[in-house]
Amino acid sequence: MIHDQARYTREDEAVHEPLLSEKTEESVDASDASPLPDDLTRDSLTLPAPSEPEVARHYTRLSQMNWAIDSGPYPLGSCTMKYNPKFTEDVAADPNAAVHPDRSERSVQGSLELQYRLQEFLGDIGGMDAVTLQPPAGAAGELTGILVAKAYHEHHGNDRSEVVIPASAHGTNFATAATAGYDVVELPSGEDGRVDVEALEAAVGDDTAALMLTNPNTVGLFERDITEIADIVHDAGGLLYYDGANLNALLGRGRPGDMGFDVMHYNVHKTFATPHGGGGPGAGPVGVVDELAEFLPTPRVRKTEGDGGYERFEPDNTIGKVHGFAGNWLVLIKAYAYIARLGDEGLADAAAKAVLNANYLAERIDLDVPYGPFHHEFAATAGDRDAADVAKRMLDFGVHPPTTKWPEMVPEAMLTEPTEIEGKSSLDDLAEAFNLAYADTDEALSTSPNRTAAGRIDQVAAARSPRLSWQALDEE
């Protein structure tokens, strides 16, 4: 299949859709009409002033120059780009859900109950005892989890300084550990692509606050030695952190809590199909085992005694807050609706089909796929081709390419996660795109893409002299 993406071009100016500021700009005096004294106001404000029809056209055109899950396959490994059920939008748009976070408990019983129910769902799914909904994204969940771990250690008089992270882990794991003030100990991957238990034993010790792990890992391999890994970390007095980005592969078949993980985050914008919105918002609830519950962010929600109501409460030794209010509420509602829609069987089927799809696709492509058996994603290697070039060429065939050049353990990696929402024919399209691109000439690869709204974009120039606003363009 071929897809020519919509493209608007203004030939005389060599731009695609003009900037709003190029269409219409207005300066208004901000102080004149203000009830404030002049010395407390700005002088003027200059912004685009389009009419509503212009606004509608501008953003409609921009949208048509943007790929999305509703456009076609979007197999970004580790990003779990699923279809976002439309009805969840309607549920979240309920005007009665649009309340202020400082409302009294008694006046928002409905919202509190839904929060409570979602906490329960997530606890059950992860095998965790207590859940906070506050973290606004996966990385925020990581930070929350690591801060909880830190609080736990400090509470027990344990001063630990290191977090152990496999080399194949996501960048946020490393950055999170650093943000929480930990030194990072990077664990090289074992021969089989999994954690090298001996290396882990060597890395773990009195300074180990936690091991951060995702399972299946970022090439889709299940850490078969998870029980042993957990024992090693626990024996050293460390905690086990589960990065929930890959939970989709485990739904109904394995729970982090049962594997010995003490704390985890859920990526609801991955596993639970809330839309990623071109970068966010997501939500990264955190689940913990009982011993860690007292450190969770405040407030959490529980049932009140007796009367069937719900209340907020502050965990005894809370780390405080990780979001100014209650996190990304509108996203959480959608996650609730998704989980309720699928139920036990639907969740299990999602995992089954996600894993089947990855395996089927891997079978159909001509690229090598080292390691295995993988679950929901696999890292093919582009071999002596440049993975990024192959990806660009794939754009011409009407699909979004996989994540490229990561994880580094696979040379020229193309980390591919089709998720359960692709059917056979769409996987066949994807495979064909892979194969056509992979087999194409160097010339074709390096000059691609050609059917996209923009041609290949100069990244180096963008970074060398950053132009980050229309003001910066005007200055030229």
């Binding site: 912004l47 120059m65 943007n66 939008e89 309920d94 994204a137 299940f222 918002p281 999602a350």
Partner: protein, 442 residues
């Protein structure tokens, strides 16, 4: 559609599943799972699948149990009327269901929208750089502190914040500071504004950052911003200013008073009242461009010579720089930024300034009228206000608030005898009724 028991969003027919299993060479999907028995799970969460319609009904019943109150609430989370066009455009699937723009050639639409959002924030703050979102004002403040820590070569480790600060915001800040070995300390206020003299005394070489808000958490316009900026400068500390996207339209331009960083809420445009869900502003001067947390969109050229947009300066970010990244943020609030940009475009500068000025006017009016009620005094602080102000009540504030709630109004309790009231375009039409209720209640 797969059987009633499967995921309604997995398209496999039985025949397709069979063909695929065959191609893979296994008998069933279970054979593909490499999970040791010891940690396997039987799949019984006890969650019953429901129909789309049942879930809509269930949630609408649930939310229907929230009481129907007119909210005079603010303190960092503000609602303004969001024009319908914002919903309709931002809900377009190409925006809503896309991922981060890792392939810019097919993501020009969102990239340009974010570039335009950044530009609007550049105009509003007067600073050269704005990223395309943090989670919210609180986390943006946290990121500002760690940026200060990186860029300030002082030996200090103190972040100075106003003593009147939303508790949650300070709590988040402390969590960011803890990892960077920074200490958060507060400086005193003087009738709702910073006590600049006290601040000057407190701001010594230990200070890496001075934070002030305009308007403050109590809605007061901060009158000596330039002086605060000088204090910070003298101490070699970063001056970070907190505000929101509407207030910025009329209050002093942050750059003009020496702000190095601006954080705050942009969700006041584009987002409905959303239980605190936000959109963190992060803008700063050019000097820190390679220290900015979060995503940045830049202009470049494509192979055809046309202007094109791309995520840029990614070497700052976690996926490349790992533990040396400027932040751990990955998923952000891009779609909310899109909504804010559409809302701002719909208003235009005139509409935005009007909205901001109305927030000043309405607050003054309502304060005056509440002040007329015997037993109430407002505003507590002799300052100009944006949207909100503190009210002294002779009776216990909590009881007054509870009584108001039974009459259908929500206000903040911020002290034993202190309420806080926030008025915007959304609730201004009910201001008369609020005043009447206050009269009845006290």
């Amino acid at each position: 559609m797969s059987g009633a028991d499967g995921s309604p969003y997995a398209p496999h027919t039985d025949a397709e599943t069979a063909a695929m299993l065959d191609a893979v060479g296994v008998a069933d999907e279970e054979a593909l799972f490499d999970i040791p028995d010891a940690v396997a799970f039987d799949g019984e969460f006890g969650i019953d699948a429901r129909s789309e319609r049942d879930i809509r009904d269930e949630c609408s019943r649930l939310f229907g149990r929230n009481r129907d109150l007119t909210e005079f609430l603010g303190r960092g989370h503000y609602g303004h009327y969001v024009p319908s066009v914002v919903d309709h455009l931002s809900d377009r699937a190409e925006f809503l269901t896309s991922y981060t723009q890792y392939q810019p050639e097919i993501s020009q639409g969102f990239l340009q929208a974010l570039f335009e959002y950044q530009s609007m924030l550049v105009e509003l703050t007067g600073l050269e750089v704005a990223n395309c979102s943090m989670y919210d004002a609180a986390t943006a403040l946290g990121e500002a502190a760690t940026l200060a820590d990186r860029v300030r070569s002082t030996s200090g480790d103190v972040v100075l914040v106003p003593e009147q600060l939303r508790e949650g915001k300070r709590a988040v800040l402390e969590n960011y500071c803890a990892g960077a070995d920074l200490t958060v300390e507060s400086y005193p206020m003087d009738d709702g504004n910073a006590d600049v003299d006290a601040l000057a005394e407190r701001a010594d070489a230990d200070a890496v950052m001075v934070y002030a808000e305009n308007p403050t958490v109590r809605g007061c316009v901060e009158e000596r911003l330039a002086a605060i900026g000088e204090v910070a400068d003298d101490a070699g500390a970063l001056f970070t200013l907190g505000s929101d996207v509407v207030s910025l339209a009329v209050l002093q331009e942050p750059a003009s008073v020496g702000a190095d960083v601006v954080v705050g809420e942009a969700g006041a445009l584009g987002l409905p009242t959303a239980y605190g869900m936000g959109l963190g502003i992060f803008a700063c001067s050019d000097d820190f461009i390679r220290q900015v947390p979060g995503r940045l969109v830049g202009a470049s050229e494509d192979a055809r010579g046309d202007r094109a947009f791309t995520l840029t300066l990614q070497t700052r970010e976690q996926h490349i720089r790992k533990e040396r990244a400027t932040s751990n943020i990955c998923t952000n609030q891009a779609w909310v930024a899109l909504r804010a940009a559409i809302h701002a475009a719909t208003l235009g500068p005139g509409g935005l300034v009007d909205l901001a000025n109305d927030c000043v006017r309405e607050a003054a009016d309502l304060a005056e009228r509440i002040d007329d009620v015997v037993g109430a005094a407002a505003p507590v602080h002799d300052r100009h206000h944006v949207r909100e102000f503190a009210v002294h009540v002779d009776q216990p504030a909590a009881a007054v608030a509870e009584d108001l709630e039974t009459r259908g109004f929500a206000v903040h309790v911020i002290g034993e005898h202190l309420l806080q009231v926030c008025v915007t375009d959304l609730n201004a039409g009910r201001a008369d009724d609020l005043v009447a209720a206050v009269e009845e209640v006290i």
